[in-house]
C-alpha cells in the first residue's frame, strides 16, 4: 500500500514537471519573440522609413509619372526573391516551418554552383593527388569565381527590377531597393521567431486542453 502511495505522487509530479517544462519553454520563446519583435520592429521601421523617404525622394527627382504602380510589369514573370521553406527535422510531431530568404535567386545559384563544382571534381579526380597548397589555391580561385558569378546574378536581378522605372533611375531609387531588401531579411527573421513561438504555444495549449478533458 505504502509503495503504491509513493508511486502515485511520483507519477503526478512527473506529469507536473513535464507540463511546467512546456510552459517554461513557451514563456521563454514568447519572451524571445517579443524582445525580437520589438527590436526588429524598430529595425524594420527604420529601414522601411528610410526606404519610403528614398522612394519619395526618387519620385521627386524622377517625377511622379515615372515612379508609380502603373509602370509595374503585369506580364508573366517569376519572383527573383523567394523563400526556402523547410520543416525542422528534429520535431517530427510538430509543424514548425523555417523560412530562408533567397535574394535574387542567390541560394539556388549557390546550390547550382556547388553541384557544378562537385561534378567537376568527379570529372577530374587527379586534382586530389596534387600538392595541398596548389589544391587549396585552385579551390580558392574556384570559390572566388563562384562568388563573382553570384554577384553578377544579383546585380542583374537588381537592374532588371529597377528597369521597370526606366533606364536611368535616381540613385535614391537604388538606395530604396537596398533598404527594402534589408527590411525583407528582418521580416524573415520575424517569421521564424513567430513560428518558434507558435510551436511552443501549441504544445502548452494542447496540454491545457488535455488537462481539461
Amino acid at each position: 500500500m505504502e509503495v503504491a502511495d509513493h508511486k502515485a505522487p511520483t507519477l503526478e509530479n512527473g506529469q507536473l514537471a513535464d507540463e511546467n517544462a512546456d510552459v517554461l519553454q513557451f514563456m521563454d520563446s514568447m519572451d524571445a519573440y517579443f524582445t525580437l519583435l520589438h527590436s526588429l520592429s524598430s529595425t524594420l521601421r527604420q529601414y522601411q522609413i528610410q526606404g519610403w523617404l528614398e522612394l519619395a525622394s526618387a519620385r521627386h527627382s524622377m517625377g511622379a509619372y515615372r515612379v508609380n504602380t502603373v509602370l509595374l510589369d503585369h506580364t508573366s514573370h517569376s519572383a527573383a526573391t523567394t523563400l526556402l521553406v523547410t520543416q525542422d527535422e528534429g520535431k517530427v510531431d510538430s509543424v514548425e516551418p523555417r523560412f530562408t530568404l533567397c535574394k535574387w535567386g542567390s541560394s539556388s545559384n549557390e546550390k547550382f554552383l556547388g553541384e557544378k563544382q562537385s561534378s567537376q571534381d568527379q570529372l577530374h579526380p587527379q586534382l586530389r593527388h596534387r600538392g595541398s597548397t596548389q589544391l587549396s589555391e585552385e579551390k580558392t580561385s574556384s570559390e572566388n569565381k563562384a562568388s563573382c558569378e553570384i554577384d553578377d546574378q544579383v546585380q542583374k536581378g537588381r537592374s532588371k527590377s529597377l528597369s521597370v522605372f526606366g533606364t536611368l533611375v535616381s540613385p535614391k531609387l537604388r538606395s530604396a531597393q537596398l533598404s527594402f531588401e534589408t527590411a525583407l531579411e528582418t521580416l524573415v527573421e520575424m517569421a521564424n521567431a513567430r513560428s518558434e513561438m507558435l510551436y511552443a504555444f501549441d504544445k502548452v495549449d494542447k496540454k491545457l486542453g488535455d488537462g481539461k478533458e
Binding site: 514568447m30 508609380n68 510589369d73 523567394t82 509543424v95 523560412f99 527590377s161 521580416l187 495549449d205
Partner: protein
C-alpha cells in the same frame, strides 16, 4: 491550434503583400513580385478606393495558395479584416503585420498577442487548475 499536416518543403515560395502603394513598390523593387500566366499577382495595392471585400478576397486567396509562404499585411489594413486575420491559424503561410508610413505598429492589435492573451486570463488559469 496548428494543423498537424506536414509542411511541404518548398525552395521557391513567394512572399505576398497587402499594403499601400509605396510599401508594395518598395518590396517589388526587392524582387518579390510574381505574375503567373493568368496574370494573377502576389500583391494587392490598397488605396482609398479599395473595398474591404477586395481585401478579404485577397487575404483568402493568398492564404490558400500553396506557392505562398509569407503574407505581409499592413497592420492598419489587417485591422479592417481583423476577424479573418485573428481566426487564421495555419503555420504556412505565415501572416506578418507590418507598419505603414502613416500607421506605426501597435503590438496591442497583433493577432499573435491576442491569441496568447487568453492563456493568461484568470478564467483559463482557474479552469486549468480544476
Amino acid at each position: 491550434m496548428a494543423n498537424r499536416a506536414q509542411i511541404p518543403n518548398s525552395n521557391s515560395a513567394l512572399i505576398a503583400m497587402i499594403a499601400d502603394e509605396d510599401t508594395v513598390v518598395g518590396f517589388l523593387l526587392a524582387g518579390v513580385g510574381n505574375v503567373d500566366l493568368r496574370r494573377n499577382t502576389n500583391y494587392l495595392i490598397v488605396d482609398s478606393k479599395t473595398t474591404v471585400k477586395q481585401i478579404e478576397d485577397a487575404f483568402k486567396e493568398f492564404t490558400t495558395r500553396e506557392d505562398i509562404a509569407v503574407v505581409l499585411i499592413s497592420q492598419y489594413i489587417a485591422n479592417m479584416i481583423r476577424f479573418l486575420v485573428d481566426n487564421y491559424n495555419k503555420p504556412v503561410p505565415a501572416i506578418l503585420e507590418i507598419p505603414s508610413k502613416d500607421h506605426p505598429y501597435d503590438p496591442a492589435h497583433d493577432s499573435i498577442l491576442s491569441r496568447v492573451k487568453y492563456l493568461f486570463s484568470a478564467e483559463s488559469v482557474a479552469s486549468g487548475r480544476r
